[in-house]
Structure formats: C-alpha cells, structure tokens
C-alpha cells in the first residue's frame, strides 16, 4: 500500500512538473523584463546598418510580441508557442552567420543596458545559440 502511494506520488510529481525551470524567466524580469530587452534589441537593430535591412518590411510591433513570446517559452515562462516554425519564418531570408552574430550583439547590448547580470545573459544565450541552425542560411 505504501509502495503504491509512493509510486502515485512520483507519477503525479512527474505529470504536474513538466521539467519547467522558471528561474531564468524570473531572473530576466518576467514579461516586463523580456519586453524591455526585446524592445532594446529592436532599437539597437534599427541603428545597426549590418542587419536593419532585413527588417524593412516587418511589422515591428508584431515581431516584438512574437519575440517576447518566444523568449518567454525558451526561458520557462508561462507562455505557449504559436505560429510557424523557426525554419518556416526564416525561409528565403538567406540570413548569414554574420547576420546572426550581429543580432546576438544587439541582444547582448540590450541586456547590458537593462543591467542583466552576465551569468543570466549567458544562460539566455546558451538557450538561443542552438537555434542558429534553424535560422541561418534558409
């Protein structure tokens, strides 16, 4: 009986805890913090001659909301993924490795402006770095 109870506890623990670690989401300031970071990054991109051209015909408000949502998902926040896949939305853009790095630099600069501690920045970058293959050279 005790064993059944224990297994039941383990099972319910597993099902109610889909391995979500919200600490990164919280460290970045949750929804408000992510929004400030994304808006800062978009402002940096607007001043970045290397990649601003890629955003010429983009609805920036919609992009901001999508990016905040995506960062929320990636950092363990209470958001659901929606829309097309990363591969799909970058299809035909032929983004280069250099473009990707330029965006990373604009993101880092935005996080520095927001005073995000370096270890927290690195945790976010470590989540995003594996996505490069879904974004570039498509």
């Amino acid at each position: 009986m005790r064993r059944v109870w224990l297994i039941g506890l383990l099972l319910s623990a597993c099902s109610s805890m889909p391995a979500r670690d919200v600490s990164l989401y919280q460290s970045l300031g949750e929804q408000a913090g992510l929004t400030r970071i994304v808006e800062g990054m978009l402002l940096n991109i607007a001043k970045d001659p290397r990649i601003v051209g890629h955003f010429a015909n983009v609805d920036i408000t919609l992009l901001r909301d999508k990016l905040v949502q995506q960062l929320c998902v990636e950092t363990g926040g209470p958001c659901q993924r929606s829309g097309d896949s990363m591969e799909e939305v970058h299809k035909g853009l032929k983004l280069t490795r250099s473009d990707f790095n330029a965006l990373v630099e604009d993101l880092i600069a935005a996080m520095e402006t927001q005073g995000v501690p370096v270890p927290v920045q690195n945790r976010l970058l470590a989540r995003l770095a594996p996505m490069r293959g879904q974004i570039i050279e498509r």
Binding site: R50, T96, R97, S98, N101, A102, V104, E105, I108, E112, P117, V118, P119, V120, N122, R123, L125, A126, A129, P130, R132, G133
Partner: protein
C-alpha cells in the same frame, strides 16, 4: 608572396569593410608566433572578425621582459572566410646582458592555419584547426655554437577551441588544447634540433580563460617545450593573462610569463604586454 595574393584577393571583395561578422573577442589576441590565439599558444580561432565570405586582418606588437632578456615581436595576420589564416611574425630576443658577439637572436615565422571543422561557439563540434609554421632563424652563429643543428625548420600543430556559454559559474569559459610537432629550441630563436635530440616531438599546449563579460578575460596558458641542447636546459612555459577587448579594432593583453631557463639563465619570468589592432 602569399600575403600579397591574399591581400589582393581580399581587397577585391566589397565585403572587406564589413568584416566583423564574428562576436567580440572571438578572434583572440596574437600569439608570439603570429597566429591568432593567446600569448604563448595559438588557438583554433582565426585572426580578426571575418565570418564566412569575409576577410579579417590583424597587426600586433608584443614585448616580454624576462629577468635577463627582452623579447620583441611584431607581426600581422590575414584570414579569409573564417577558414584560412596567413600570418607573419618577426621576433627579436635581446641577449645583450650575456655580452656575446651578437646582441640579439632573431627569427621570422611564416604561418598558415586552416579551420578543419567545428565552431568556437555554435555547432556540435568544437573548432579544430591545423597549423603549419615555417621558421627562419636569422643569426645562427650562437645557436650553432651551442649545438643547434639547423637555422630553419617547419613545424605543425593542431588546436581545438570551444567557448562554453556560462561554463564557469555562469561566466563564459574558453577551453583550448592541442599538440605541436616541433624541434624548435626556444621557439626557434636558438635554432632547431640539437646535440641532445634532433627529432621532432609531440608537445602539448593548453589554455583556459574566463570571460567576465564580452570585453574582459582572465586566463592561464601552458606550453610544453623540447629540450634539445646539451649546454642548457629548456623548460615548459606558462603564463597568467588578462585580456581586454574594448571593441573589434583593439585587443590588449597583459600577462605574467614564466619562461624558466633560457640559455643558461634561470627564472626568466616577467611581464608580457601585447597590443593588437584588428581591421
């Protein structure tokens, strides 16, 4: 000649001006032998900040002040496509404290480095590069007198480098390791091969560095050395360094180098300062 061709090649490309496709500090500093890397060891990274389809170039000057000697190095490197690097370094070791016929030992080093596969930061595999260095000792009188066998030689190395995001208690960690196949005495300043050993040896090189932010880095390096000359012992080298990368055009490295015995003088330890410009 190779340099001239590559310069022409790169100049012909309109992308040259935008050669900053890689992240800050990922071009490393300039090593004593001209290749991109740390100070006493090369890394697998290529000079400058050029990514695929871009050129990168660096020029540098380095001084090491040890107890009895002073080493001055100037040089330049050119990289293309984040794939191939050509480098040149001119070394002058001031030995006037020894009161010998020559007041210095001089050497020129021509280097070629090719990224074989992988990436410093992205992809599954670490960045792995193969390098070849052709070294020409310029004033062979003293090296020959102390037993060196030849005044020029070619050596090869393989290096693997990886930047682990958050790898050091949340801070980015650069790991670097490789082997060199060499018989150079004190980098080649005392010639190549000697009375005690005249064969190339496999020698280990490694370094580890922590990036406190994208601009500041603190690290250590180690380099195994041959010991080919009977007249004096040669020791492995190591150093502790601080690197500062304020932007993609400047890199400063300040280190404390431990060079051990050199030509009979022991405890050749001292400050190392290197300035690199990136274009």
């Amino acid at each position: 000649m190779k340099h001239t061709l590559a310069v022409l090649f790169c100049s012909a490309l309109p992308l040259l001006a935008a050669a900053d496709g890689r992240l800050l500090a990922t071009g490393g500093a300039s090593s004593l032998e001209g290749a991109a890397g740390g100070g006493i060891t090369p890394w697998a990274v290529l000079a400058g900040y050029g990514e695929a389809g871009e050129c990168g170039a660096t020029a540098f000057a380095t001084r090491v002040d040890s107890q009895d000697y002073r080493l001055d190095v100037t040089g330049a490197a050119l990289a293309w496509d984040n794939r191939v690097e050509l480098s040149f370094a001119r070394q002058r070791l001031d030995i006037s404290s020894l009161h010998l016929p020559d007041s210095s030992l001089n050497q020129d080093i021509f280097g070629l480095k090719v990224r074989l596969f992988g990436d410093l930061l992205y992809d599954q595999l670490p960045q792995v590069s193969l390098g070849v260095q052709h070294k020409q000792q310029q004033n062979f009188l003293i090296p020959e007198l102390v037993g060196a066998r030849r005044d020029q030689d070619t050596e090869a190395y393989v290096q693997a480098s990886r930047l682990l995001l958050g790898g050091a208690f949340g801070y980015n960690l650069l790991l670097n390791g490789g082997v060199r196949y060499s018989r150079a005495n004190q980098l080649g300043l005392l010639g190549f091969g000697g009375d005690a050993n005249d064969q190339h040896e496999v020698l280990a090189e490694a370094s580890l560095a922590v990036l406190f932010n994208p601009r500041w880095v603190l690290g250590v390096e180690y380099r195994q050395k041959p010991d080919n000359l009977g007249f004096a012992q040669e020791n492995d080298w190591s150093d502790v360094f601080v690197g500062y990368f304020p932007n993609k055009h400047l890199a400063l490295v300040l280190a404390w180098a431990q060079l051990g015995d050199i030509a009979g003088q022991s405890n050749q330890n001292g400050p190392y300062l290197s300035v690199q410009g990136s274009f």
